[in-house]
């Protein structure tokens, strides 16, 4: 019941949600200037008219009195959690000048490499401002991202699907095998686009198997839950492969031959694929002629997938043969010991998975006939948060290759591999390129679409670039700069100079990684930190300048779903859709959006030309549609250019403000790469060995120590840091999970969300398995301390459950328990188990992909 007085203004304004990075299209109900309801925009495939709980709770963020809306600077030079920074409000003029002065000071001291910016998923389109400003306008090479999810996996997805983001084809998939992820039940990219499709699938009989130590939302909905000892998923995946290959003989031979390089001939001693001199084309074996031929020789009659042969007096084996031999170690019985998953369960899942793939079958969609492989393995964060992340994701996703489900209907497909563009303009359009010598699929980039090639990078571009993240010696890690923590803390060791300036956009670096005290030291290593946020979060205790941002309901942003390939998982029947984020109400205290802010800062710093050119590049603004370097535009004018560039002169910003979204049908050819592209994905990763050689040379030059063990041509399992119990009594693994209503460190501050969490029996408590609790003499409601052997500890209250591996403890978020006085609702609620993990040092990092090992054994002590 609303107020009885007659309502004068009553409007619904289309815009885009930002309560998580998924940017669902919404409609906001405003009555007499007050936002009274947020609903999904039913016209859009991005959310389909539904908002999740977080989205609906956007109102509580908008009207949250704890939000900061005026710029502030610190007056107390002493930095530390809980130490009052002595914030004083300043004018916007002063805020801009401090930004400018500090940036210029830092550049004057050590050049632009002295600048670092930290930003990524919280406001994904917003992040493109700091990328455009620091990375492009200033050409500053160093950046940080908060994510410890995408390391390795986006790279693997790039290799297998071109998309950098891929998912099971929920519309057709009949068997989803999830590892360490709750895609489509609680989390992930395009959550609100997949969750309904996945529910439909469940009702129509699609089976879900979820591998997770904890009964998170994925396992809740699974037909089979495989609780696993953390960090052992690769062994499980390889055992499934073992059963498929060695016990059942189920694998897609035709697919492997045609769409992968599995048949390439490999020299066992070197592990390298043998190639034709000059062209560098791999050799394969033609059984018909009993002879090696280059892989694309049109004369090949009967390609050998398996076997050993002699070429030039040397014994060679096919890549697949070596794979098959390699996985012999992973019998279900052996793997049961590693993973705790019973051997008969492994066999059962392998059999179901293999049979569901219905190898050999085809499907006709919209008149196009394609292979039909309705089974897919999927993995994400739970796998990335371990040491050998690259190998693990690879072991899992290679199951898709084995059954021939990559890039075909029902299988594992890129979110948006190909775009033909808006029919009237043909923009934006993209298509993956091909690595010619081996006919391998290249990728379309992660954030905005650009044609990238891991193979070319390995061939041509390995070498120290002088960046803090050492990305030049991690060719398979295009994205994750987390080695930067170590170079910043030990610059001499890496031949680097410590950075002085940090800009943090919409992130909480002290909480999103490991031990908070170590992270505090990292933050203190900067002379100056500016942070742009809605709140004074934990990390703000280390900021020197606080720049408030307007909420998503009060600001413009770049087109929220960008190029549609990071968080909008396309499928047949899911239209292309592009939306707008626009202010629904006036910003409190006229706080700017991040776009307004950088646009203004660039102009004040005399960088308008560079700034405009950066945006021209990111948004592909060309010819008369480009921003003129001379002109200072307002941020909305820039948006106008972007929209008109893509959708024609009649569909500028005003059109989008009015209409909200534009959509048009997605064609089958834009969804499935195979068989329309007669190209291949790797099965035997020869390029890993090529990379290893080059990285080895480079690190020698650099004089640093570096791990090369994970550069393997085939996936394998390796134990995590704390796989063994090193100290008696330190026997439990804390794991954390995300549920639908929470996002990282900040959502629990939302009063409606907090109410849900408080009422959730698991909400802010530590789950412990009933058998373990009994053994330890603990019961629900007991207060406990979790202590790691490194001395770090956290405390909380336990709740005894059944849905958890007996060797584990589980908490929501794992980064909650805010220490900020300025976020009273989040303060002291929940348990931040990542505080138990050493944050700095390289022992816990995967040296191929920078995944971070959060497997830490703890002792549970009754408080």
């Amino acid at each position: 019941m609303t107020s009885k007085q007659s309502v004068k203004e009553d409007v619904w304004i289309p815009t885009t949600c930002n309560m998580c990075f998924n940017s669902c299209d919404i409609k906001v109900h405003r009555q007499d200037g007050v936002v009274v309801k947020i609903e999904g925009n039913p016209d859009s495939p991005i959310g389909e008219g539904h908002v999740c709980g977080k989205g609906a709770a956007g109102i509580m963020q908008l009207y949250d009195p704890y939000r900061k809306t005026k710029p502030m600077k610190r007056t107390n030079p002493k930095k530390g959690l809980g130490i009052d920074p002595g914030w004083v409000e300043i004018s916007w003029d002063e805020a801009y000048s401090i930004m400018q002065e500090e940036i210029e000071k830092a550049i004057a001291k050590k050049g632009t490499k002295n600048l670092c910016h930290h930003s990524f998923i919280t406001n994904f389109p917003g992040t493109f401002n700091s990328i455009a400003f620091f990375g492009m306008t200033l050409d500053a090479p160093n950046f940080l991202i908060p994510d410890i999810c995408g390391a390795a996996i986006h790279g693997m997805e790039a290799i297998l699907s071109s998309g950098c983001n891929a998912a099971p084809d929920y519309n057709y998939c009949k068997y989803v095998l999830q590892f360490g992820s709750q895609a489509g039940t609680a989390t992930r990219h395009g959550y609100n686009m997949t969750v309904r499709r996945f529910a439909d699938a469940r009702v129509s009989g699609t089976k879900l198997v979820n591998v997770d130590p904890h009964m998170s939302a994925g396992p809740e909905k699974a037909d089979t839950w495989l609780p696993i000892r953390p960090g052992t998923d690769a062994a499980l995946a390889l055992s499934i492969a073992y059963v498929l290959v060695h016990e059942l003989g189920i694998y897609d031979r035709e697919y492997l031959k045609k769409f992968t390089n599995a048949a390439s001939l490999v020299e066992p001693e070197t592990g390298r694929i043998i190639r034709e001199e000059g062209t560098n084309k791999p050799y394969v074996w033609d059984l018909h002629d009993a002879k090696a031929k280059v892989f694309d020789d049109p004369g090949i009659v009967n390609l050998a997938l398996e076997g050993e042969y002699t070429v030039n007096d040397k014994l060679v084996k096919t890549g697949f043969q070596i794979y098959a031999e390699n996985i012999k170690r992973y019998t279900p019985e052996e793997v049961e010991k590693i993973t705790t998953v019973p051997a008969d369960k492994i066999r059962q899942v392998a059999k179901e998975f293999g049979e569901a793939a219905s190898i050999g079958s085809t499907i006709v969609i919209d008149g196009v006939e394609m292979p039909f492989r309705p089974a897919a393995a999927d993995s994400f964060s739970g796998i990335s948060r371990h040491k050998h992340g690259f190998l693990s994701h690879w072991a899992i996703l290679s199951l898709n290759v084995l059954i021939g489900s990559c890039n075909v209907p029902g299988g594992f497909i890129a979110y948006a591999a190909i775009s033909h563009g808006f029919p009237e303009t043909g923009r934006p359009s993209w298509k993956p390129t091909v690595w010619e010598e081996e006919n391998l699929l290249e990728n379309i980039g992660l954030n905005f679409t650009e044609n990238l090639s891991i193979y070319r990078e390995i061939r041509e571009d390995i070498g120290d670039k002088g960046d803090m993240a050492l990305l030049g010696i991690q060719p398979l890690n295009g994205l994750d700069p987390h080695f930067l923590y170590n170079t910043q803390m030990n610059p001499e060791k890496y031949g680097r100079e410590k950075m002085d300036y940090l800009f943090v956009y919409a992130g909480n670096p002290i909480k999103n990684w490991g031990n908070h005290d170590e992270m505090a030291e990292f933050l203190k290593s900067f002379e100056f930190i500016a942070g742009m946020d809605l709140y004074l979060n934990d990390s703000s205790y280390f900021f020197d300048l606080f720049i408030p941002e307007a909420t998503f309901l009060e600001r413009y942003d770049f087109p929220p779903t960008l190029y549609n390939n990071h968080r909008t998982n396309g499928a047949v029947g899911v239209d292309w859709s592009w939306g707008i984020r626009q202010p629904v109400v006036e910003a409190r205290d006229n706080a700017p959006g991040v776009g307004d802010f950088f646009n203004e800062l660039a102009s004040r710093m005399g960088l308008t030309a560079e700034w405009n050119n950066s945006l021209n590049f990111i948004w592909g603004l060309e010819e008369e549609r480009a921003l003129s370097p001379e002109k200072k535009y307002t941020f909305p004018e820039i948006l106008d250019h972007i929209y008109k560039n893509w959708f024609g002169p009649d569909r500028g910003l005003d059109w989008f403000k009015e209409n909200g979204i534009i959509k048009y049908p997605r064609k089958v050819e834009e969804v499935y790469l195979f068989p329309q592209m007669q190209t291949r994905i790797p099965f035997y990763y020869d390029f890993m060995l090529e990379a290893k050689e080059k990285v080895a040379k480079e690190i020698e030059k650099m004089g640093i120590s570096w791990e090369l063990d994970d550069y393997l041509p085939l996936p394998d399992w390796k134990p995590c840091h704390d796989y063994e119990i090193h100290n008696e009594g330190y026997d439990l693994f804390p794991v954390y999970y995300t549920n639908t209503v929470n996002v990282d460190t900040w959502m629990l501050h939302n009063a409606w969300i907090n109410e849900i969490n408080e009422n959730d029996p698991y909400g802010y408590n530590i789950e412990i398995n009933s058998a373990t609790a009994k053994k330890k003499g603990l019961k629900s409601g007991d207060d406990v301390i979790l202590k790691a052997a490194n001395g770090y500890e956290v405390s909380g209250r336990i709740i005894v459950v059944e849905g958890l591996h007996p060797e584990c403890l589980a908490v929501g978020g794992g980064c909650w328990d805010s220490s900020s006085e300025y976020m009273p609702t989040a303060k002291g609620r929940g348990v931040s188990v990542n505080h138990l993990v050493e944050a700095l040092g390289t022992e816990r990092l995967c040296h191929v992909s920078a995944t971070y090992d959060q497997c830490v054994r703890v002792k549970i002590i009754k408080a």
Binding site: E758, N759, G781
Partner: protein, 282 residues
């Protein structure tokens, strides 16, 4: 611990677990019992006191317990359909008849007359309704299975008559009135029997009721065994028994102790009933 566990686990009722509800029920029982017994014995002091305690105790605390006390007249809307509404009417009628009865007693100086007798009978009947009513009210609460039993009104009624006799005895100071003391003992035994029947009924009943029985026996064992059974039943029974057998002298102090223990027992009974009320999982 939290709200949501509530309906998948057992959850305590909170709506009526307030001091005012407890006082309303307890004072209603004490006043009502005293009124009934005293009226039967034509013991004026007990009648006046009982009337006051019942009207004030029940009336005031019922009002306090309402979210909107200013709307209390609305409570009269659904007599014969809702227990609260019916009881409000009864309370109103009892107020009228009781006032008249008391007034007649004062005016007539206790001399019997036809009219007085009529008001006496009406008032006693209404009071009997009022002392059992809380039991009916609770029994109508479908959500709380431990309350859904016809034993409750009887238990409440007997408890009320028990304290009624006890206090009347203490007020009369007529320690030689052995009949009343014997009645008190019979009521004590009946009460004890009802308490145990109630617990055994709970134990064999629906899952919500069984949970309440468990709560009663495990979580509330002290209030149950020491408060209700020990102080409310065993002690007065012992004292009265010893007195009757002449093993201790039937002094007025002894009678006052008996009455006091019984009053405490009445409070404990209602405290326990309100506290063990749980919703069952759905």
């Amino acid at each position: 611990m939290n709200n949501y566990n509530l309906y998948v686990d057992f959850s305590p009722q909170e709506a009526w677990n307030s001091p005012s509800m407890w006082l309303e029920m307890s004072l209603g029982a004490i006043g009502g019992g005293l009124f009934i017994i005293s009226a039967l014995l034509s013991f004026d002091l007990g009648i006046f006191l009982g009337f006051l305690i019942l009207m004030a105790g029940k009336g005031i605390f019922l009002l306090i317990d309402l979210g909107k006390p200013e709307r209390f007249l609305k409570v009269l809307s659904r007599p014969f359909k809702s227990w609260i509404s019916t009881s409000a009417w009864v309370l109103l009628l009892f107020g009228l008849s009781g006032v008249t009865y008391c007034a007649l007693l004062l005016v007539n100086g206790g001399v019997g007359s036809g009219i007085l007798g009529v008001f006496k009978v009406i008032s006693i009947l209404l009071a009997i309704f009022l002392v059992t009513y809380d039991g009916f009210l609770l029994a109508a609460s479908k959500g709380i299975e431990a309350w859904n039993t016809s034993i409750l009104p009887i238990l409440y009624g007997i408890s009320s008559l028990l304290v009624g006799t006890g206090i009347t005895l203490a007020l009369i100071q007529e320690v030689t009135d052995l009949i009343l003391l014997q009645i008190n003992i019979i009521l004590l035994i009946t009460f004890a029997f009802l308490v145990f029947s109630y617990i055994s009924v709970l134990k064999k009943s629906t899952i919500g009721a069984r949970k309440s029985a468990q709560l009663l026996i495990e979580n509330y064992k002290n209030p149950l065994w020491i408060g209700l059974v020990g102080i409310g039943i065993v002690l007065p029974l012992l004292l009265a028994g010893l007195g009757l057998l002449g093993l201790v002298s039937l002094s007025s102090t002894l009678i006052i102790w008996i009455a006091l223990f019984e009053v405490i027992g009445a409070f404990y009974l209602r405290y326990l009933i309100l506290n063990i009320g749980v919703y069952a999982p759905v």
